[in-house]
Subunit: 216 residues, 2 copies
Amino acid sequence: MSKNIKISNAIIRRLPRYRRYLGILQTKGVKKISSNELSELIGYTASQIRQDLNTFGEFGQQGYGYEVDKLYKEINRILGLDREYRTVIVGVGNLGQAITNYTYYYKIGFKIMGLFDVNPKIIGNWINDVEVMDYSRLEDYIKEASIAIGIICVNRENAQDVANHLVAGGVKGIWNFAPIDLIVPDNVALESVHLSDSLHTLSFLIKNKNQRTNIK
Amino acid sequence: MSKNIKISNAIIRRLPRYRRYLGILQTKGVKKISSNELSELIGYTASQIRQDLNTFGEFGQQGYGYEVDKLYKEINRILGLDREYRTVIVGVGNLGQAITNYTYYYKIGFKIMGLFDVNPKIIGNWINDVEVMDYSRLEDYIKEASIAIGIICVNRENAQDVANHLVAGGVKGIWNFAPIDLIVPDNVALESVHLSDSLHTLSFLIKNKNQRTNIK
DNA sequence: TAGATTGTTAATCGATTAACAATC
DNA sequence: TAGATTGTTAATCGATTAACAATC
């Protein structure tokens, strides 16, 4: 039943959003939903919703719709949220600390095991029950503690070096917040949050809402 | 010369990346670059690069290529980064403080004028030379201080309320970090950073790198 | 059974890539 | 001038939407 189909990036980006809306529906106690109703809510066409879901399986029932509980569970499984990931955060500046707290809050499945930094003043500190350790220990720690995900919160200049150590340690994925396109091997997953790109996009959108830009 | 052409989202998302690479090239002192050379660097096809750039104007020179300085300046202009945006941040938790510092650091054009929160314990505090003010003052302050951008760093439950006040105050754009799809009028730009969606995407990518998922 | 809604194929639309004439 | 590379049109590819048969 399982073929080597490549899932398009477009679909991948929609999956967490399906999850979000289904989670809300579940909280509200909604038991079933049709692709049309979900379409109203989420803003994708009913056709697209059915297409997307059918990439992964037949989760609905003709003449009835989809069971919210079941679909939510399936999407969690598809997203790999049915397991736990042990993570470390490298770079305990403002962003690093915010992500620590954020991930702590949204912690379903993501457990922060260690924080790493080069600053001797904060090494040894504890943040949210997690110790700040010396950056030089990173690679060994990843191996010892079976860390699956490394979160990069250092600046652009040091990000690739951190990525190299994370990869050498054996992480399966990297969540990168530095404004750089990291190079990692094919078997390591990479997801970047480019905050500056996002802010610049906002700037573009503002400009183009107001006056029509100099477009050819 | 200026037509009402709609710029596709795909192009918009590539623009900040062009900017990023051109900035690096400029720093390195590179004077000219061809679409082929840029393609090697940035990973888009040369054809796509030429197509993208030609949406906004004719910035190159046949037989020669593009002048880095000029192109960088043009893209900044296209992105609306040739002006200053006065901003406020609403929600001074960990994320709010991190974004305050982040935006402070990457401050080219984005000036944080005020912070807002409902917590009486932090109202009156100063962070990076910016005062934390009472949330009830938000709307008036936006009008008085001609704020263009509101940054939302509150939780999901309060985000839409914050957005409504920002819109009522007259902001031109909203940078949203709450995990919700906000509803704003057509003339207000909205850019959301869905950290949880991003983390869930990483989870999916990790899962699909290792074993082929149950795909039909 | 009749009505509803999925799963899936076919048609359309839009974005990317290829090709090449224009021109520096 | 010859070589290089853009600007731009045409071809291709992939993603979205429409349509409908299958079926609960």
